[in-house]
Symmetry: C2
Subunit: 393 residues, 2 copies
C-alpha cells in the first residue's frame, strides 16, 4: 500500500548466520543472528505461526511491539487459497500479508500428507484434492520450490515425507531416503528458481531412530546448498519420552555454522530444553491456538481462563509478565469475556501467550550470552508444576 | 493491575462542558470539550461501543492509538454478567475493563424492554428474566443508578421507556410521561448515590412527534440536575424520513450549555447531518458489528469485503484512510482472511471502521472550528453513492 517497499529489491542478499556464542565441543546452547534482506533474527528465535498470512488475533503492529522478528506461513495453505499466483501478482507474500520482516514458509508437506483428502504419493510427488475447491492438485519437490519462489519467502522449506510417530521402522527409513532424493531435486530446483534473498533449508527426518537421523543429517550435508537445517518428524505421535532425547541426539549432527530449526514444537519447557541442546529456531501453534481455547501460558504453568477460580481474580494472567494484556487486564475480565463469547478474550490471551513465548526465547538468549543458561533453564523448569514435558533434560 | 490508578480518586470533579464554537441563534453545529476526571472528550465525539466492557476486536491500546477519547458500555449487560458487585469489588469498571479514559454507561433500559424474556413493566420499574441464568431481576430507576454508581462510569444514563418506532401516539405519550417521572426519581437517587466525578444525563423521548419531544425536553429541563441531554427513541423502526427531521427539531430544544448525545445511531451520513443540527456525542454498533460481517465504511460508501471484485485488489479498504489496516493491508488480503474464516479479518476491518468514524467526527470538529462545516458536510455527503440516509439535511 501507499508505496511501501517489500524490503527486498536489488540489494537482497542470501540469509546468513552468525554465531555469537557457540558451545564447546559442538553440543549445547547457542546464541546468534540470522541476517536476511528484511531484517535480523536474533536466535534462539520463536516464529509466531501465521498459517494463512496472518497470526490469528494479532496485528502486524502488535507483533512488532511484542518483539517478533520473523513469522511463519504455510505455502500449502496459501497455494490452496488465495493461490501463489495471486499473491505474486500483488507483490509477494510480505506485501500481501503486511509483514515486512522475514518470513519462513513451511512447504506444507506435513499438511498435505496428514490433512488433504485422497492423497496419492509417488516418487514424483503427491496428488491430492484441494480442501478449498475439490480440484486435483499435484505437489512435487520442484513445485513447492516454485510456489515459495512466487511467494518470496525469506526461508524456503522443501517437500519432505513426515511419517506418523508410530510408523514401523521400514516406513521411517523409506521416508528418510525419499526425503533425501527430494532434497536433491529441491536444491536443483532452487538454484534456478529462488531469488537472491531466499534460502532453502534441509529437513532431517528419521523418527526417533538415532541411526536414521544420522543418515538423514549426513546425506543432507553431502547434498549441500542449504542455508539451514531443520529437525522434522517430531511431535507427530511418537513416544513423548523419546522426543527431547531425539532433539538432543540430532542437533549436534547438524552443521555448527548454520541455523537449526526445530519444526512445529513445542511447549515452553520443550523449547527451553531444545535450546539447551543447540536448536536455534522454533514455531508452534500452541500459544495462538490454545489462547483461543482459553489456555494461557505462565511462568508457573498453564491456566484455564474459563475456570470459576478466576471469577473475581484481579491479578493479571502472569504476575511476571509485562505484555499489553497483563499491564491492563485481570484474569477476571478475560474470563468474563470468554464466558460472554467476546472475541477480545481470544485476542487478549493470544497477546499474552505469544508475548510469553517471545520473552522466553529472549530471556534464554540473554542467559546464553551471559553464560548462565543452565541456571536459567533449571530455574524455568523448576517453576513449572509439571516440570515441563517428560523426556531427557 | 500493577498499581495502576483508576484515575478518579479524591480529585474527581463532575464532568463539565465548554463550548468553543456555538451556533448563532441556537441551531447549528457546535464544537466543545467535555471535561471529566478521567480525561477530556473533544466534541463532536464518537463513542466506540464496548457493551460488555470490551470494544469487540480492539485492544485499549488500539483504541487510544486511533484517537478514541471515551467509550460506551452497557450497565444492563454488565449487571447480568459478571455483575456490578463483582466489578466494584475489583475496583470499578475502568479498572475492570482496562480503559482508564471516560466511560458512558447506558442503563440498558432499551435492552431490557426489547430483548429480555418475560418482562413486566410497572410504574415501579421492570421485572424480567436474566438471559444469562434465568433468574428474576428487577430494574427500577433507582436501581440502575445504583448499578452505575457501583460501576463508576463517568456518564450515567437513567432508565427510560423507549417505545418501538411504530408505536401508536398514546403509547409514545405515555412513554414520555413515565420517562419524566422516572427521570425525577433518577435525579433524587443520583443525589445520594453517584460519586463526585459522575454526571447523570437526561433522555428525551417522544418518537417523531415534535410536540411530545418539546414536552419531554422542557419537563426534563424543569427537573434539573442533569449534566447533559440525550435524544433517545430514534433508529427504533420509525419512518426513516422522520429520523433526521426529529434530530433537527429536537436538538435546539435542549440546553445550549450542556452536551447533547444522540443515542445509538447511526450511519456516517446520519452523524454528519446530526452534527450540523447541534448534536455533540454519538454511539453506534455499526462500525464494529458490520466489520465482523465484512462491511467496511469508506469515504465513497460501504463495501462488502467478501465480494469477488476484491479478489486481486491491492488497494486499501479506503484510499483516503491512514489507519493501521489501510497502511498495511489490501482489500485482497482482508477478503482472503474473511473467506478463510480467520478472526483477523474482523479485527482489521474493525480497526478501519472505528478509525473511520473517529476521523469523521474529528474532521467535522476541525471544520466547525474553522467555520467551514457546511462545505465539509456537503462534500462528505456528495461523495456517498447513496447520498447518506434519506431524510432532512
Amino acid at each position: 500500500m501507499n508505496g511501501r517497499s517489500t524490503g527486498a529489491g536489488d540489494s537482497a542478499h542470501r540469509p546468513s548466520f552468525e554465531l555469537l556464542v557457540a558451545p564447546q565441543g559442538g553440543a549445547g546452547p547457542r546464541a546468534g543472528i540470522l541476517r536476511t534482506s528484511r531484517g535480523e533474527v536474533p536466535t534462539p528465535a520463536f516464529m509466531p505461526v501465521g498459517t494463512r498470512g496472518a497470526v490469528k488475533g494479532l496485528t502486524v503492529g502488535c507483533l512488532r511491539e511484542m518483539g517478533a522478528s520473523i513469522i511463519l506461513a504455510n505455502a500449502y495453505h496459501l497455494a490452496m487459497r488465495p493461490g501463489e499466483k495471486l499473491i505474486a501478482g500483488l507483490g509477494g507474500l510480505h506485501r500481501f500479508c503486511g509483514w515486512n520482516g522475514p518470513i519462513l514458509t513451511d512447504s506444507g508437506g506435513y499438511q498435505v500428507f496428514s490433512l488433504a483428502a485422497s492423497r496419492r504419493i509417488s516418487e514424483e510427488g503427491v496428488e491430492f484434492r484441494s480442501p478449498v475447491d475439490g480440484s486435483v492438485r499435484f505437489f512435487s519437490p520442484e513445485g513447492v520450490i516454485g510456489i515459495q519462489a512466487m511467494l518470496g519467502s525469506d526461508i524456503v522449506m522443501p517437500l519432505d515425507i513426515c511419517p506418523p510417530g508410530d510408523a514401523p521402522p521400514a516406513e521411517v527409513e523409506e521416508a528418510v531416503e525419499r526425503t533425501l532424493r527430494w532434497a536433491e531435486r529441491s536444491v536443483r530446483a532452487a538454484a534456478g528458481t529462488l531469488a537472491a534473498g531466499q534460502a532453502l533449508f534441509a529437513i532431517v527426518q528419521g523418527g526417533t531412530d538415532e541411526r536414521l537421523r544420522r543418515r538423514s543429517a549426513e546425506a543432507s550435508m553431502a547434498i549441500g546448498g542449504f542455508g539451514g537445517f531443520a529437525i522434522g518428524g517430531l511431535s507427530v505421535g511418537e513416544d513423548p519420552a523419546r522426543t527431547m532425547e531425539t532433539v538432543r541426539l540430532t542437533a549436534p549432527m547438524l552443521p555448527a555454522d548454520l541455523p537449526r530449526y526445530l519444526m512445529g514444537m513445542g511447549r515452553p519447557g520443550d523449547i527451553v530444553r531444545a535450546i539447551g541442546f543447540g536448536a536455534d529456531m522454533f514455531d508452534c501453534v500452541l500459544p495462538t491456538r490454545n489462547a483461543r481455547n482459553a489456555q494461557a501460558f505462565t511462568s508457573r504453568g498453564t491456566i484455564r481462563l474459563r475456570s470459576a477460580a478466576f471469577a473475581a481474580d484481579g491479578s493479571p494472567i502472569d504476575p511476571d509478565c509485562d505484555c499489553e494484556t497483563c499491564r491492563h487486564h485481570s484474569r477476571a475480565f478475560i474470563r468474563h469475556l470468554f464466558l460472554a463469547g467476546d472475541m477480545n478474550a481470544a485476542i487478549l490471551t493470544t497477546i499474552h501467550n505469544v508475548s510469553f513465548y517471545l520473552r522466553l526465547v529472549r530471556d534464554a538468549r540473554a542467559a546464553i550470552l551471559e553464560g548462565r543458561f543452565e541456571a536459567f533453564r533449571d530455574g524455568f523448569l523448576a517453576r513449572l508444576p509439571e516440570g515441563g514435558t517428560p523426556g531427557a533434560r
